[in-house]
Symmetry: D2
Subunit: 300 residues, 4 copies
Amino acid sequence: MLTDTRGVYIVTQTPFAADGATDLASIDTLIDFYSSHGADGFTVLGVAGEAAKLTPAEALAVAGRFIARAGGKPVIVGVSNASVAQLAELTAQVMDLGAAGVMIAPPTGLKTEEELFAYFAGVFARIGDVPTVLQDFPFSTGVWMSVPSICRLVREFPQIQVLKEEDLPSITKITKLRESLDRRIAILTGNNAMFLPLEMGRGIDGPMAGFSHPEMLSGVYRLYTQGKVEEAHALFDSYLPLLSYENQSQWGVAVRKEVLRRRGAIACAAMRQPGPRLTPVDIGEIDLLLRQLQRRLAAA
Amino acid sequence: MLTDTRGVYIVTQTPFAADGATDLASIDTLIDFYSSHGADGFTVLGVAGEAAKLTPAEALAVAGRFIARAGGKPVIVGVSNASVAQLAELTAQVMDLGAAGVMIAPPTGLKTEEELFAYFAGVFARIGDVPTVLQDFPFSTGVWMSVPSICRLVREFPQIQVLKEEDLPSITKITKLRESLDRRIAILTGNNAMFLPLEMGRGIDGPMAGFSHPEMLSGVYRLYTQGKVEEAHALFDSYLPLLSYENQSQWGVAVRKEVLRRRGAIACAAMRQPGPRLTPVDIGEIDLLLRQLQRRLAAA
Amino acid sequence: MLTDTRGVYIVTQTPFAADGATDLASIDTLIDFYSSHGADGFTVLGVAGEAAKLTPAEALAVAGRFIARAGGKPVIVGVSNASVAQLAELTAQVMDLGAAGVMIAPPTGLKTEEELFAYFAGVFARIGDVPTVLQDFPFSTGVWMSVPSICRLVREFPQIQVLKEEDLPSITKITKLRESLDRRIAILTGNNAMFLPLEMGRGIDGPMAGFSHPEMLSGVYRLYTQGKVEEAHALFDSYLPLLSYENQSQWGVAVRKEVLRRRGAIACAAMRQPGPRLTPVDIGEIDLLLRQLQRRLAAA
Amino acid sequence: MLTDTRGVYIVTQTPFAADGATDLASIDTLIDFYSSHGADGFTVLGVAGEAAKLTPAEALAVAGRFIARAGGKPVIVGVSNASVAQLAELTAQVMDLGAAGVMIAPPTGLKTEEELFAYFAGVFARIGDVPTVLQDFPFSTGVWMSVPSICRLVREFPQIQVLKEEDLPSITKITKLRESLDRRIAILTGNNAMFLPLEMGRGIDGPMAGFSHPEMLSGVYRLYTQGKVEEAHALFDSYLPLLSYENQSQWGVAVRKEVLRRRGAIACAAMRQPGPRLTPVDIGEIDLLLRQLQRRLAAA
């Protein structure tokens, strides 16, 4: 059961070679890097993982490689798709490979809460009893789910065991959700962890986010769960300038991949096209931000 | 009480002079034209009335002139506004002038049903006990209201006495609404009356629409309410090519004003800028469509 | 070369069995039905063909069956996809099977004309020299292309040999396109052919649309190209009430499939879920509309 | 001429009393507060100033009070409006009162660059030779302007003397704009100044943003223009946790008003309804963030 999920779930990048081919070997080094910096689990094929640029066969190969290397740590696979048929096909395949569950966001174009419920009823009729992370990411999907709607989804569909909450403001929504949910589910938060320590204070079970320095995510999580609130904030604040820099949608993903490459986690920083490419000016800013980060960490 | 509304409500044009000034004198001829072709009431300052191009002072002057000339027939005033303060101000002013009620569509940007209810709670707290037409026109507002949501709004806010239904398909929604509403309200339909006889068969109380030939609207309504279903359809079908031609959003409004000008209802066909202007090719099509309409009417 | 395309291209339905499985046998009867009612070519896997509900393997099987049965008439395959990788894969597969070309609409989410050009540059770099129909269907994609933008796309990408124009108003846009395009391409129109005879008068090369009565599409096209303008309009007008009824987005597709089933073109009217299902009230309206159509045709 | 604008332009809040009435007296204390913390100019009636909740008369009164108290510092007035008539009316009124210029964002609903140019042509034909700040804030307006489009607007309309750039990523767009603009205009940046020092490095002329601690904005600006890049970043980073907390759209405005109230800048923190209200949990977070800010400033 994923309802007891807690800890640090890393939203993984998908490594590509310079020519745009998937780089499966880098998946191994990447997941080892994440694990050595405190990851408790992984979420693959998310928005930041460039999932929408893959063919179904590539998506399956990437997910399979992550699962194989995860060493038993849970792997959640993003299966959101405009086609329920494709969603169901990938779900069956990755569950066979050993995924811990799937993550589903409602598709762009759902217009009312009535349509939202009909959609998930249809999905769960197709995929059956699969542990599911409901992703609430309206700025990406264009589908806005109120707290009462999320509570009703959780009430009606036992498959929903985790909520990935990345509406904004997340903090006030988390408080309302914790007051309103009828049964215990895990709540993890995304938005590149931009509000992580405050979200911990509001009652989440950990981050589900990507960052070039996952040791910050795990560090803040450990400190906060040990009751060291001020220390958790101080650690977070040290990384915030870089975190905010990476929090610039797909362009921020390009930055993150460049820093992961510098740290040896992946062989090549390229994003699959169409996607942003970094300029020398961008690289100079990364240098500056990393230098300042090192200075703050040394001073602390 | 508007809950017993039935009949033919004409969505009025706002007449402008060639230089873009409001043409109040043409309001008198226009409303006389509508009345002589079977209008039972009027809806002014709607989308097709170019309301969004007026200053508050102009809007008030236009509404006041319509009310003064309506000869006691009910006038509904569209007061939808991104600013609740402006909505409330115009509502108070037109109710003082003798409007029968106001029409309100939810503003662009409302994202969940929770926000929808909060919005109308705030509006009705401000405007008080004013008879209100709820406008369901998602293609214009971007706000999609499900049947359960509309029923809940009607349940909670007694001010809602009429629903102007112009979602698509309207016909299936009307059937669901009639099955689901807890109390009797009037339902009138818009979308330029493109589905009027079918909507009559689904249980509406009449059209709330604009057309250059309002005698079609009143004719279909009378025939249908007399049980002459096939005749109602036949009359409607005769006008459908022209109706469909006018059903091309703001460009269709330009067509409608040109035909109304030809029929003597208004002095000038101009729309206030920014807005479409007709070309000689467009005028040639209007000539063709009117010629064919006359032929069909003569044959019938 | 598709630049000389002219005639009647039918946008095909995808037949499903009652349990939602693809019904390949009905593809044969369907394409024979279309051909016997005047089709000159076919467009498969469009929005009205429920393409978004298929897996990639199903899409390929459906397209292949249509191509095999088309008897040498050109088949255009819709390949629009949020993933360029999937778009390129399907394009290569269907061109191998003998498709005449592909149809591509810009994906939801493109925000500026700069992004639009970058998108098509990327697509054509991937798929190479494949004859392409550019689909301008903003109400479905959310991407609005101005006349200058379309002209620039046509100028820069020789692969674009046909424009499927289904913005609204289509008629004024067609006139501007014909005045502005630097080179000759074919223009066909969609929107369920709601403005077909007027669009013919504006200079299109034929319809690319679906309708339960394709004999209307071919009849209007033949009459108009023979210079019989008034007769073309008269024929069109006879069918307009039913055409308008089918022009209600996905619900209209359900109606169309029901009528195609009654006419023996497909075995089962079901849409794949999620999708609308017809009620007895809906069926009664279809009966009424077909009865009135027969009466008008008999009178003519 | 505003083309030489440089320095710190504060986006002002609009003070309200607890009952929702405008609090004009607090405008005086607020502008004095801003001035004493380094403001060089002001932008009033922006999105963060709750402009959309005011009546035209209230908007004029608020703008006039700000202008009267500004002591000769330039005041830019936001006049964006769905109605060009209202935009023109407010523009004429505030220019008469001594505004330095107006700020205009394209209205929601513009769909192509062709429509964008037609819109501004129409606006400038109405308002004439008024110094104008073009606001590029797509996340609020839904209108996305590419760099080539902005350059063309600047080329064609000499009234555009300043660009308020708040697309994301802003930094890469600023670099492209500085390379592409044909004539010198000022570029100021918004987005609550979340990327201020990096934007300074990309060539902007200062911030146009709101913050409860305007001394950060002016401090970063002064340090950066003195060539103290690392010091500018260090100062900025100290405030970043609070800045990010205030950068949560309208809820962030509620936070900002609460902090401004605590600092004596305004009498009451209330937002006009509909708008967010802070809870005790929110207040506790503000306490925490302010305490940590003080600690960092003391340590520096």
